[in-house]
């Protein structure tokens, strides 16, 4: 079943948050193997989700990051606060 745009963005938001939190934890617990493994796994999923989204809807990041999708449409609305 095709995932909706909102669903994909939500998924990216959740995965992104997990990676941020694990990253902070690894800053002060660099020897925690479990956290390191989790981070690797989730960051792979995050990148895959982002790529899936970007192929359909265009860039999530600019300045050379990520995949800009079929069109260079990153200036287009809606912007995150709209």
């Amino acid at each position: 079943m095709q995932k909706s745009r909102e669903y994909m963005l939500r998924e990216i938001q959740e995965l992104s948050f997990i990676c941020v939190d694990l990253n902070l934890f690894l800053d002060t617990h660099p020897d925690n193997k479990r956290a390191a493994m989790d981070y690797s796994g989730y960051s792979q999923k995050l990148n895959a989700s982002k790529r899936e989204y970007e192929e359909m809807y265009g860039a999530l990041s600019n300045f050379g990051e990520g995949y800009h999708g079929p069109d260079f449409n990153w200036t287009e609305s809606p912007w995150p606060w709209e």
């Binding site: 941020v20 934890f25 002060t28 617990h29 995150p80 606060w81």
Partner: protein
């Protein structure tokens, strides 16, 4: 829209996300350990993301608001100065200043300030949560409050790592 006025506390106030982000990113340059440079860079970056969230929330709360709407929400003076713009000030209209932060260059002092900053931000979010009457904003506030608690833990660990390092050096 009444909540928009209060959210300015976290957009441009003393214990705002802007204050936190700027403080940590400025302090990182004089940290002696890689762990601390990383921690301050990462938490500082996260705080700037939170600053964006607060800005977005204020933008959404004030989108399409007229001068009369601002006046009715007790923000007439704000409207005169900024219209629908979003200006870094606290809830009372005091503009943001670097005087809210300190970069002592002394890692123990700086980390201790960071612990206090996280508690102040946590307390501010709790005040906002108690005062709000808008169910849509409670969830983002709760999330932001929880992040302050986690940051407090991380800074505590950072200070601990630093102090154990000093003890190890001095007992050689």
């Amino acid at each position: 829209m009444r909540m928009a006025k209060l959210f300015f506390a976290q957009y441009g106030g003393a214990d705002s996300e802007l204050s936190a982000g700027m403080r940590y990113l400025a302090q990182r340059y004089s940290m002696p350990l890689d762990t601390l440079k990383a921690l301050l860079t990462d938490i500082g970056t996260e705080e700037l993301g939170h600053w964006e969230m607060i800005g977005a929330m204020i933008a959404q709360l004030t989108a399409g608001a007229t001068a009369q709407d601002y006046k009715a929400a007790g923000m007439g003076d704000y409207y005169v100065g900024h219209q629908n713009g979003i200006y870094p000030q606290d809830a009372s209209g005091v503009p943001f200043t670097a005087a809210y932060i300190q970069v002592k260059g002394d890692p123990v002092a700086d980390l201790t300030e960071d612990l206090a900053a996280e508690q102040k931000a946590r307390a501010t979010y709790e005040s906002l949560m108690r005062i709000t009457d808008d169910p849509d904003v409670i969830d983002p506030l709760r999330f932001l409050r929880e992040r302050e608690i986690v940051h407090f833990e991380r800074f505590g660990e950072g200070l601990d790592i630093l102090q154990r390092m000093h003890i190890n050096c001095h007992t050689k």
